[in-house]
Amino acid sequence: MVAINSGNLAEKKTLSKRIRDSFSQVPLLAWFCGFLVAVLLERFVGDPLTELLGLPKIPALFGAVTVLKKPLLIPGTLAFLLVIYILPIIIVPRLCAPVLNRLAGWLFNVSPAVSVAIHLGLLYGILHLWADISGYRLLTLKLTLIAVIVTLSLNVINGYMGEFSCSHPGFLALGAYTASIFTLLFFVDDKVFGSALLPKFLGPFLFPVALILGGLVAAIGAIAIAVPSFRTRGDYLAIISLAFMFIIKSIIENLEFVRGPRGLSSQPNYVDLPTVFIWTVAAVWIINNFVRSTTGKALNAVRDDEMAADAMTVDTRRTKIVAFLFAAFWAGVAGGLFAHVLRYVNPSTFGIQKLAEVLAMVYFGGLNSVYGSIVGAVSLSLLGEALRPLEIFKWIIIPLLLILVMIYRPTGLIAFKEFNVMNLIRPKEKT
């Protein structure tokens, strides 16, 4: 009996190990090719296939919405997913691995920067093709990318620095309103701010200025939290930052020149997919650079033992304030993008529910980890959308999921892992 059991176990182990081994030799380039094949398949044979399977249209978010509304369509949807996504993504990367390993190696030797650019280009292509299917997908994708920026920037404070901050909705609001006022004032004829002050064709070129201004205003707001919170050791940040969030919200609600609770609308349509993609890549790149530098790792030292950090020449107060303003800046930029994706903002967006959403993404994905924030933001954004038909039950399922993660992985799915782009784009050959 015992012998049989242990034999089975060993077999299972070798099987899962074999699978893992065969996938561990697949370079990122090959994975991207798999995804590319999937989105191309969907584009060219998606429509005939949906007809064949009796589906009303191509499942927008991997079929979750359709399935939840009409359970009878489950087999068709599964078949669609299998043919369009699962099979290509399993088969293509493994088939192409030998060739693409050589290509990845060659590219890496030519120039890692070129290799990174090609990877990013491929990634953009995949996202573009995927989002091209429907306006709903495009909107979801844009909001997901923005969520990545927000989550990552909050992870700098709550993960890397280990303080508990609740002020991110406030920073988002400051960024959203600053950028909106900038574009509405200068480039739009509207009822609130009158006719455009600058020629409209300049708008798209000066839009980065609007976003950066939004970021800076958020960072200035952050000073109001950072200075009192980091003066002494202690846990004031959570309370002060929570107060900050409510104060910003009620200030905006009472500011008549931004139309109070009615919010601002008709922001110009500057934020297409390339814009969001570029800003997201920039945010990930800069934040990742920061947290991997010794200057940035000082945050971890402060978190793990502040007294020791002090004794090892780390200016702990400056470290905390800089990181806090830095995180606020990116939240502000994300807020500006957010306002221009929806082309409407109002203060009620930036309340406790937003806070819960962002915190969930940070803690679900994993503390102190760029991977974690990307995974957390993407999975919870998509899940939130996919579970939308469940309405109120969505707010039971997502918290339950969070509780499960907190029980089995208290620091999140992919915590404390360095995001090393060079290792990511390297060929993965047998060693």
Partner: protein, 256 residues
């Protein structure tokens, strides 16, 4: 002029006078010891010198300049490196990152370098890393540089902490019970390292020790502290034969 001079330093915790009228002079390259029973105020003296506490009275001069009121990181960058009695390590960081971090004050690439990964940053990080490896080599920990600190046995952690303190490039190294909790083998290694550090860098060392054997062997001058007051100061022999020390301290613990 002595490198470090402390004049009539006292410190109160609420009503408790933890350190009373303490005086010290350390010359460059000197090795000094501080012994005393538990709770005598030894660690408090270290915390006062390194800026964690502010003395209630008295003055601390480094190279003739008062360092009272400076922030701990400024004092550390000024050349006072230390270890802690209860090993204050950073539990999510690797061995290498510990020793790199302690060179924080030498970083000059600024935020631009940190955000954009400039060539200057790459160069400086490489230099910091090289220095870190040299120090890890010195304490015999270079082969474990990539390990998370929490995965190391206690004795190894102590040696990493030593390398970390050295990375701040101290002129005086303050060691708070560096052999506490070590087995005899680890103890011998640590004493060897302290000797090596002293001869190689010409550092002044100020050592708190519980094991008399260690202080007696390493230190030129030893102070004995009881209830926050120095009751005796002198060479190892003088201390061993001082009746006050024997009564207050040695009487309770045999010399190993």
């Amino acid at each position: 002029m002595p490198l470090l001079q402390i004049n009539n330093m006292s410190h109160d915790f609420g009503g408790l006078r933890a350190v009373n009228n303490y005086n010290l002079e350390i010359e460059p390259g000197q090795v000094r010891g501080l012994i005393g029973p538990n709770g005598a105020g030894k660690t408090t003296i270290f915390n006062l010198i390194t800026g964690i506490y502010q003395p209630t009275e008295g003055d601390i001069l480094l190279n003739g300049q008062s360092i009272v009121g400076l922030k701990p990181y400024q004092i550390a960058a000024g050349g006072l490196g230390r270890t802690f009695q209860n090993l204050r390590l950073w539990r999510h960081m690797t061995v290498l990152d510990h020793v790199k971090m302690a060179q924080y004050s030498k970083i000059s690439y600024g935020l631009i370098g940190a955000f954009f990964g400039t060539p200057k940053r790459r160069k400086e990080e490489a230099e910091i890393e090289e220095k870190a490896y040299t120090l890890l080599e010195l304490v015999g920990m270079a082969n474990l540089a990539d390990q998370l600190i929490v995965n190391l046995p206690y004795g190894d952690q102590r040696r990493v902490e030593m390398a970390r303190a050295l990375a701040t490039e101290p002129r005086i190294l303050f060691l708070d019970e560096p052999t506490a909790g070590m087995n005899p083998e680890e103890l011998i290694k640590m004493m060897e390292i302290i000797r090596r550090v002293h001869s190689e860098f010409g550092l002044a060392i100020f050592l708190i020790e519980h094991r008399l054997k260690v202080v007696m062997e390493l230190c030129e001058i030893i102070q004995t502290l009881v209830f926050g007051e120095v009751i005796a100061e002198g060479s190892a022999e003088e201390i061993q034969n001082d009746p006050k020390v024997i009564e207050a301290y040695l009487g309770k613990e045999t010399i190993h």
